[in-house]
C-alpha cells in the first residue's frame, strides 16, 4: 500500500517510486499525519506489513542535532528525508517515538538541499556536519528513494559541509557508482552477531555489512563505525571482543573516518511504550534503571561496558578518531 499526499501526486519522485512498485495500491491522503499520527495504532502489528507514505516535509527541515550527537564537528545538524525504517531492531527508539510503523518518505529533496546550502553559506568558521540517519536508516530503501544518489553529489559540491549516511543495510550500489567525495562518511552500526541475530530483525548479518564496507573502502570511501547502543546480555564481554576482532580483521584503520560508541539509553516515556509493545522481550526485563528521565543500564554496569568497549576499541584505532557518546543523544520529543 502506498499512501500519497494529494499535493505530491505528480512530483517526479512520487511517480518514480510508484513506478518501482507497480503492484502496490495507491491511496491518496491530504496530509501524511492523517495516516501516520492517528491514535489507536499498533506499531507492533504494523511492523508485519508497513506501508509507504509519500509526503512533502514542511517547516524546518534541518535541525540542530541533540547534544552529544556528533563525531567531532563544530556544528551538528540532522535531517530526515524519511521516518522509520524497514528493519525491526527491538531497541530502536523510533518505536517509542512514532505511533505508526509505516515508512514516510519526504519527496521534496530539493527543499532539504536548499536549507542545507543556506546553513553552509552562513558566515561561520566551524564546519557543519549533517546527519541523515537519525529518524531512519540512510540507505536501507536506497533502490526506492535514491536518497544517497541525490544527496552525495549535492554534498560533493559543498566542501565546507560534511554528510554522514548511517545504516545497517548493504545497499551500496548507488555509492559504488559515484566517486567518493572527501566530505561524505558512510557509517555502519554494529552490535555483536549474537545480538544482531536476536534483536535486529531483518537486518543483514555483521559479516555482510563488513563486506559492503570493504567494497566501499576499496573505492576510497571514508567509513564510520558506530557501536551504539551497547547491549547487555550474558557473555557480553566475549561478544563485543569477538565483534571487534571480526570488524578489524576486515577493515583497515586507514579507511576509517571515525569510531563511536554509546550506551543503551531511552527517554523514559519511549521506554514505557516499548515495554508495553514488547512485554515478552528480555532486553527490557534486564538490569535497567531510570536516571533523570533516561532509562539505561544500571550505572555501574553501563560504566563497566563503556570502559571495556573503549579499551578494546582503542587497542584497534587511534584515540583521535574515537568519539564516545557519554550523554543521551535524543532530540526533544516536542520537535
Amino acid at each position: 500500500m502506498i499512501y500519497v499526499e494529494a499535493e505530491v501526486l505528480d512530483h517526479p519522485r512520487t511517480l518514480d517510486i510508484c513506478r518501482r512498485l507497480p503492484r502496490a495500491e495507491v491511496v491518496t491522503c491530504a496530509r501524511y499525519g492523517e495516516v501516520f499520527n492517528r491514535r489507536a495504532q499498533s506499531f507492533r502489528l504494523q511492523k508485519r506489513r508497513p506501508a509507504l507514505i509519500l509526503a512533502r516535509k514542511y517547516g524546518r527541515l534541518v535541525l540542530p542535532a541533540p547534544p552529544g550527537y556528533g563525531v567531532g564537528g563544530g556544528r551538528n545538524y540532522y535531517f530526515s528525508h524519511m521516518l522509520n525504517c524497514p528493519f525491526d531492531c527491538r531497541y530502536c527508539f523510533l518505536q517509542g517515538m512514532f505511533r505508526s510503523a509505516h515508512h514516510v518518505v519526504f519527496v521534496n529533496y530539493d527543499d532539504f538541499q536548499r536549507e542545507i546550502a543556506g546553513l553552509v553559506a552562513a558566515p561561520e568558521d566551524r564546519e557543519a556536519w549533517f546527519f541523515s540517519g537519525y529518524d531512519c536508516d540512510s540507505l536501507a530503501l536506497e533502490p526506492l528513494t535514491r536518497f544517497a544518489a541525490s544527496f552525495v553529489p549535492f554534498f560533493a559540491a559543498l566542501p565546507r559541509a560534511w554528510l554522514e549516511l548511517r545504516t545497517k543495510s548493504v545497499q551500496v550500489r548507488s555509492l559504488l557508482a559515484i566517486a567518493p567525495p572527501p566530505n561524505v562518511v558512510v557509517a555502519w552500526s554494529f552490535t555483536p552477531q549474537e545480538v544482531q541475530g536476536v534483536l535486529e530483525r531483518l537486518t543483514p548479518p555483521v559479516e555482510r555489512r563488513l563486506r559492503a564496507m570493504a567494497r566501499l573502502a576499496e573505492r576510497g570511501w571514508r567509513l564510520g563505525l558506530r557501536f551504539d547502543p551497547l547491549i547487555y546480555s550474558e557473555g557480553w564481554r566475549e561478544q563485543y571482543g569477538r565483534l571487534y576482532e571480526q570488524v578489524f580483521r576486515r577493515l583497515g584503520v586507514e579507511s576509517l573516518h571515525s569510531v563511536s560508541l554509546g550506551p543503551f539509553r531511552l527517554p523514559e516515556d519511549y521506554f514505557h511504550t516499548l515495554e508495553k509493545l514488547y512485554p515478552d522481550e528480555p532486553l527490557f526485563a534486564g538490569p535497567l534503571e531510570n536516571r533523570a528521565g533516561q532509562v539505561g543500564y544500571r550505572s555501574d554496569l553501563e560504566a563497566e561496558m563503556v570502559d571495556y568497549c573503549t579499551r578494546e576499541l582503542l587497542g584497534h584505532v587511534p584515540r583521535e578518531i574515537f568519539f564516545p557518546c557519554a550523554v543521551p543523544c535524543f532530540k526533544d520529543p516536542a520537535e
Binding site: V26, V27, T28, L45, A51, L199, D280, E281, L283, P287
Partner: protein
C-alpha cells in the same frame, strides 16, 4: 473476539447463521445476536452513520467492554460499474486526487454487483474527514475507497464505493480497539444501472451470503492477531493470586505487575530448581523463602535459592519482622531479578 456491525436485518441473517448466533438481550435499542461462548457478536444498527456509531458503542459495552476486539462493518454499497459501460462522466468532485490517480495509473477497479471489497480509505462526505483502515494481513478481498453519504447515492461518481455507515462505525470502533483490527467490508449491490430501491430483502441476503467465505477468513486472521495482543497484555503469572492474598497499594500493584512480568521473561517456565523462583509460581517460592529469614534490605536482600514452587502456593508471610508482607515481597522480587542473567532470545516476528 469478533464484533459485527450491520445496518439491515437482511445483512445480519447470513452472518448470524454462519456463526450460529442467537438473539441476545431482548428489549434493547438494537437487535443483537451472539454466538455461544461470547466469541462473536453482531448488532443491527439501522441505516446511517449516527446509528452505526451508536450501535458500535452499545455493542462494545453489551459484550463486556473488553478492548482489542476485531470489529467488522459488513454491508452493501453502491458503485459505478465503469464509465465505459454506463456512460457515467468521470466526475472529479469529491476526491479529484483519488480519481485522477486511479485514472492515470490505470488502477481504477471496475466492480460488478456481488463483488466484495475492503475499505482502505473511508471518507465522510459531510465533513470531508478521512480514515485509513490499516491492513496488516493478506486480504482475501480487493481494497477500495468508501465514501459515506448521508443520503442514498444516485450518481455513483467513481472511484468510490458508496455506503451510509462506515464513517460512523470506523472512528467509534477505533476507540475500543486498534485500527489494524477494525475494517469495513462492502458488497456491491447497486449502481446507475441497478437502483438500490429495486433491491429485495432476499437479494441483500444473497449478496451478503455470497461474500461470507472471504469475510470469515478475514475475521479469523484478525481474531488471531487480537488473541495475540490479548495474551501479551495478560497479567503475569502470580499477579492475581498475590492481590487476592495480600494488600498492595496502587503503586505497589503496578510495581508487582512489572516485576512479575520481568520474572516471567527472564525465567520463563522455570521450575525453581535454579533458584530463580520461576515464573510458574514465583510468589509461592519467594514467600516460602522469606518466612525463614528476616526481611531483606532493599539493596542486599537476595533471598538465596528459594524453594521450588509448591502446588499449594502462597504461604502466609509473617508480619512479625516489621515490614508489610507486600513490601517485603516486592523487595525480594527485585533482589531475585537482580540475580537473573539476561539471555536474549531469537527475535519473534512482529506479530503477537
Amino acid at each position: 473476539m469478533l464484533r459485527f456491525v450491520v445496518a439491515l436485518a437482511s445483512e445480519a441473517r447470513p452472518i448470524a447463521g454462519r456463526y450460529r448466533m442467537r438473539a441476545a438481550a431482548g428489549g434493547g435499542p438494537f437487535r443483537v445476536f451472539a454466538a455461544p461462548g461470547d466469541d462473536a457478536w453482531l448488532i443491527v444498527s439501522g441505516m446511517g452513520k449516527a446509528a452505526a456509531a451508536a450501535a458500535t458503542a452499545y455493542l462494545h459495552l453489551l459484550a463486556g467492554g473488553a478492548p482489542g476486539r476485531v470489529w467488522l462493518n459488513v454491508g452493501i454499497g453502491g458503485h459505478c460499474h465503469g464509465c465505459e459501460h454506463c456512460g457515467h462522466p468521470f466526475r472529479e468532485g469529491v476526491d479529484p486526487a483519488a480519481a485522477a490517480v486511479a485514472r492515470a495509473a490505470g488502477r481504477y477497479r471496475s466492480l460488478a454487483v456481488g463483488d466484495a471489497v475492503l475499505a482502505h480509505k473511508i471518507t465522510d462526505r459531510g465533513s470531508g474527514i478521512s480514515w485509513y483502515p490499516q491492513l496488516v494481513i493478506d486480504s482475501p478481498l480487493p481494497a477500495a475507497a468508501v465514501l459515506t453519504a448521508d443520503q442514498v447515492e444516485r450518481e455513483y461518481a467513481p472511484p468510490w464505493v458508496y455506503d451510509m455507515e462506515a464513517s460512523g462505525f470506523f472512528p467509534t470502533a477505533c476507540r475500543f480497539s486498534t485500527a489494524e483490527l477494525v475494517h469495513a467490508c462492502k458488497v456491491i449491490s447497486d449502481s446507475p444501472a441497478a437502483s438500490v430501491t429495486a433491491l429485495s430483502v432476499a437479494a441483500v441476503e444473497e449478496l451478503i451470503a455470497g461474500c461470507l467465505e472471504p469475510v470469515e477468513r478475514l475475521a479469523g486472521e484478525l481474531a488471531g492477531l487480537a488473541r495475540g495482543l490479548a495474551d501479551l497484555a495478560a497479567d503475569p503469572p502470580g499477579y492475581r493470586e498475590a492481590l487476592a492474598r495480600w494488600h498492595f497499594t496502587a503503586s505497589e500493584r503496578r510495581r508487582l505487575q512489572r516485576l512479575l512480568r520481568r520474572l516471567a521473561v527472564l525465567a520463563p517456565g522455570s521450575d525453581g530448581a535454579d533458584g530463580a523462583g520461576g515464573a510458574d509460581d514465583p510468589l509461592g517460592a519467594l514467600a516460602a523463602g522469606l518466612n525463614d529469614r528476616p526481611p531483606a534490605a532493599p539493596a542486599a536482600g537476595l533471598p538465596e535459592a528459594p524453594e521450588p514452587p509448591r502446588a499449594s502456593s502462597l504461604p502466609a508471610l509473617e508480619p512479625a519482622s516489621g515490614a508489610r508482607p507486600a513490601a517485603r515481597l516486592l523487595r525480594a522480587l527485585e533482589a531475585r531479578l537482580e540475580a537473573l542473567p539476561v539471555r536474549l532470545r531469537p527475535a519473534a516476528a512482529p506479530a503477537p
